[in-house]
Amino acid sequence: MRAQSGDEAAYRSALALAATRLRGYFLRRMRTQPDDVEDLVQETLLTIHLQRATYDPALPLTAWLHAIARHKFIDFLRRHGRSAALHDSIDDVDESKLAVIEHDLTARRDIGKLLERLPAEQRQAILDTKIEGLSVAEAAARCGASESAVKVRVHRGLQRLAAWLRSES
């Protein structure tokens, strides 16, 4: 998988494709609460990003993606106390055909606001590298920390965001 080897454009398009598939996957299972779909898509994308090392390139990507989506969906049902048995019969439908094309969906929870609640140095590391597009070395020079410290801060910050997304919904 080129995206795993650090090809940024490939990774971006892989994530965008995953978002489309996930939206279809969750929409079919959550017809009664469409408001939560986009939240769950974003939460799952964050998990995919944080867990991308657990994908084994020798195996099919869809199986990995499907397992994560399923885990997140069951997790969601558990948190909301709804029965998982209701929508399980259509597991084999081709998701790409059902996927919604809209790219502009906004989640109810705003990750941007959650970002502001992060500890200052984690937020700064994420803003510098992810929003402003500085390299890790430049971000490290700006805040006077080592490069590995910046990487750790970005990772910890994203992990914390994922944990918040889980507990808030």
């Binding site: 650090g6 971006r12 974003q42 998990t47 397992a67 992810k130 929003i131 390299s135």
Partner: protein, 211 residues
């Protein structure tokens, strides 16, 4: 935040995944746990002075434990990733135990009449499994800690696999102290210690391995 913006944010400067990142994390935890258990054996139990004179029985014992470590490590790796089948690794583990069982069975049949009992129980069967389970504690804690950063589909199964691996590492350290030579003893009592650790791992894993 819009989903497209989140995708942009995540993709930017994402960097490459370190090759074999999962294996490295698990191997680091396993190695540190083995070192800790070895230190405990040196400091607390003492190394068997006759270790060098045990010959073939020691080699067989270490081969069995080593094979358990490899099979359990494979299983732990599989169980820590989503969407991956663990059947082959589990089969390898069962195969290792069956091979040892065959050797132990042959040794018991070959034994002179009336000796089978002592081959099975040795002189330390009461303490052996518990000591192995205790020696596996550091590796189990470190492995569970490592797996918490990964994505096990089932916390119980991943915890069980981590417990097997930790138990095998504890057994490896315990072999430095142990004076038993019979394959039947190793099969029954060493494996019991490993199983104790695995059950503990499953119980803890189902609680702490959430993501």
């Amino acid at each position: 935040m819009k989903t497209q913006e989140l995708v942009e944010l995540l993709a930017r400067r994402a960097g490459a995944v370190a090759p074999r990142a999962v294996q490295r994390r698990l191997a680091g935890a396993a190695l540190a746990g083995l070192v800790a258990a070895t230190i405990v054996v040196f400091a607390g139990l003492g190394v068997n002075p006759q270790l060098g004179a045990m010959g073939a029985s020691l080699v067989l014992k270490l081969a069995y434990i080593g094979a358990l470590v490899l099979a359990a490590g494979w299983l732990t790796d599989r169980a820590s990733r989503p969407g991956v089948r663990s059947a082959a690794a589990a089969a390898a583990l069962v195969g290792v135990v069956l091979a040892m069982a065959a050797l132990a069975f042959v040794a018991l049949i070959d034994a002179p009449a009336g000796q089978a009992g002592s081959l099975l129980l040795g002189s330390s069967w009461r303490s052996c499994p518990w000591r192995i389970a205790l020696l596996s504690v550091p590796a189990l804690a470190l492995l569970l800690w490592a797996i918490r950063t990964l994505a096990p589909p089932s916390g119980r199964i991943a915890g069980f696999a981590a417990g097997l691996l930790a138990g095998a590492l504890g057994a490896l350290a315990y072999a430095l102290y142990c004076t038993e030579t019979s394959p039947a003893f190793v099969l029954v009592w060493y494996s019991s210690g490993v199983l104790l650790s695995a059950l503990a791992g499953a119980a803890i894993g189902s609680r702490v391995l959430k993501w």
